[in-house]
């Protein structure tokens, strides 16, 4: 029977939701699904992964040199475990994009990036050209190494499974990199990738101060995540991890507000699969209106506070 290996995404304490979407893609391919958890002091992550519905086995590599999950060390571990698997999958999020191409190269196979649909065990759909051309590609390699666009697959159930947890030996520490520090953006809001509602602001907000002053009250109404266009990030209104788009985060919430965002193709690539899109822009010809379900031509500095008041 086909066996598939899914690389868990986590922070040593909790399993990231993107793993559930990756498992869902593996289920579409079909076969026996194993999940690899590589970390340090990450038993709770393995326990959470064991509960995912449809997962047969958890492989747990718990070692100090996986604490920071550097691409070099994790890829070496994955390669050491690769025998017998027909498919190796990770989420197309920061860690997966960083690490998985190394695995593909070490196995001398292609990587199929950011799949959004599974046609068969060797054929997949993936977006190219900022999502303007959907390519169906067939792999001739023995092992399919795949990153999964989370918005393409409804998450597998996080409860109901009871997979066995098998501790595995760590691979050698390559000692190639040293982490000096991490600056994690602090926020009480949900993560962009997991939020049901996203409020995004663009250059039209004018400054970081106004971005927060105008958008936070709206986001509070929905417990929404905050996002941004590249222009807003480049101008320093908000940190880089707020960027939605072709080269930022890909999101598909129930409700997406694009406020003071023109709607460049690179931005649309990151949000056009949202269920409902609302655009507020003072330029009636802004391209964002071509994808918005509801467009309001207005000055955002008036319309957004009015909207907050109207929502009560």
């Amino acid at each position: 029977m086909t066996q598939l290996l899914v690389i868990a995404e986590h922070d040593n304490a909790s399993l990231k939701a993107a793993t559930l979407n990756t498992v869902a893609a593996a289920q579409k391919i079909g076969g026996e699904i194993h999940v690899l958890v590589a970390g340090s002091g990450c038993a709770s992550v393995a326990a959470a992964a064991a509960k995912i519905a449809g997962v047969a086995k958890i492989k747990l590599a718990d070692a100090a040199h996986y604490a920071d999950q550097t691409a070099e060390n994790v890829a070496a571990l994955v390669v050491s475990q690769a025998a017998g698997y027909s498919h190796i999958l990770a989420a197309a999020t920061g860690p997966g994009k960083n690490m998985l191409p190394r695995v593909a190269a070490l196995l001398d196979v292609a990587q199929i990036s950011e799949i959004t649909a599974v046609e068969s065990q060797d054929t997949f759909v993936r977006p190219t050209y900022a999502g303007n051309a959907m390519a169906t590609v067939k792999s001739a390699d023995a092992v399919k190494v795949i990153t999964v666009r989370t918005t393409g697959f409804d998450p597998a159930a996080g409860e109901g499974g009871s997979a066995a947890i098998e501790p595995i030996a760590a691979a050698a520490d390559l000692g190639l990199t040293k982490l000096i520090g991490r600056e994690i953006t602090k926020s009480a809001r949900p993560e962009l990738g997991a939020a049901k509602v996203i409020v995004s602001g663009g250059r039209g907000l004018g400054s970081g101060e106004k971005y927060h002053q105008v958008l936070e009250p709206l986001a509070d109404k929905f417990n929404a995540a905050l996002g941004a266009s590249r222009a807003a990030v480049d101008a320093g209104f908000v940190p880089n991890d707020y960027q939605v788009g072709q080269t930022g985060k890909i999101v598909a919430p129930q409700l997406y507000f694009a406020i003071g965002i023109s709607g460049a193709i690179q931005h649309l690539a990151g949000m056009k699969d949202s269920k409902v899109i609302v655009a507020i822009n003072k330029d009636e010809d802004a391209p964002i209106f071509q994808v918005a379900d509801y467009g309001l031509v207005a000055d955002l500095f008036q319309a957004v506070p009015e909207l907050v008041a109207e929502l009560g």
Binding site: T93, Y129, G131, A135, K138, K272, A303, L307
Partner: protein, 249 residues
Amino acid sequence: MKILVPIKRVVDYNVKVRVKADGTGVDLANVKMSMNPFDEIAIEEAVRLREAGIATEVIAVSCGLAACQETLRTAMAIGADRAILVESDVDLQPLAVAKLIKAVAAKEQPQMVIFGKQAIDDDANQTGQMFAALTGWPQATFASKVVVANGMATVTREIDGGAETLEFKLPVVVTTDLRLNEPRYATLPNIMKAKKKQLDTLKPADLGVDVTPRLTTLKVMDPPKRGAGVKVADVKELVAKLKNEAKVI
């Protein structure tokens, strides 16, 4: 130290591509081609390191059609010292390009290779990481700051929740993110000068690399279209629609 900068010729970022009616690909006839924007950032970073006296030579490398010579000239107009074209009309996929760059690196012995994090045509985001794996070098992907001193590179990289800083012994692979720098415009005198700079051409066979594609594209389709939306007159109508029609609040 030498820095190698692989660059790709792609459809210009301002072009909205059109899928061919027969589903075989996108229509590239008469479409403006440019250097991949992330590769421009890579060239700029390398040139700045040379201007700061840290790098001694910047070599741009492109793999692809003869037309990539034009892109390499642009790289030299920004400031690369010389260029290498690995010419092929095969559909070169990331693994093949990583192998070609590895073979070039074996000849040139750079201490740093700076890739763009992704090409805006195939959006693969693989080649830098694959090169790093094949050479056994460490990788600093999605870089927003690069500092080189005493044989070490300190790189700040963009991660999902913010940023992290890592330290590496050289040689190292860097892939660029948008915030690393703002590339300069090539001036006319520099464009003229670039015409006289050295550009060598090789073939994949000269480098002993098998570039046979591993992925076959069966078809290319338009993405699902969103139904046309409506313009609302005011905030009241917007809230009413969200409540009663879309039912999302």
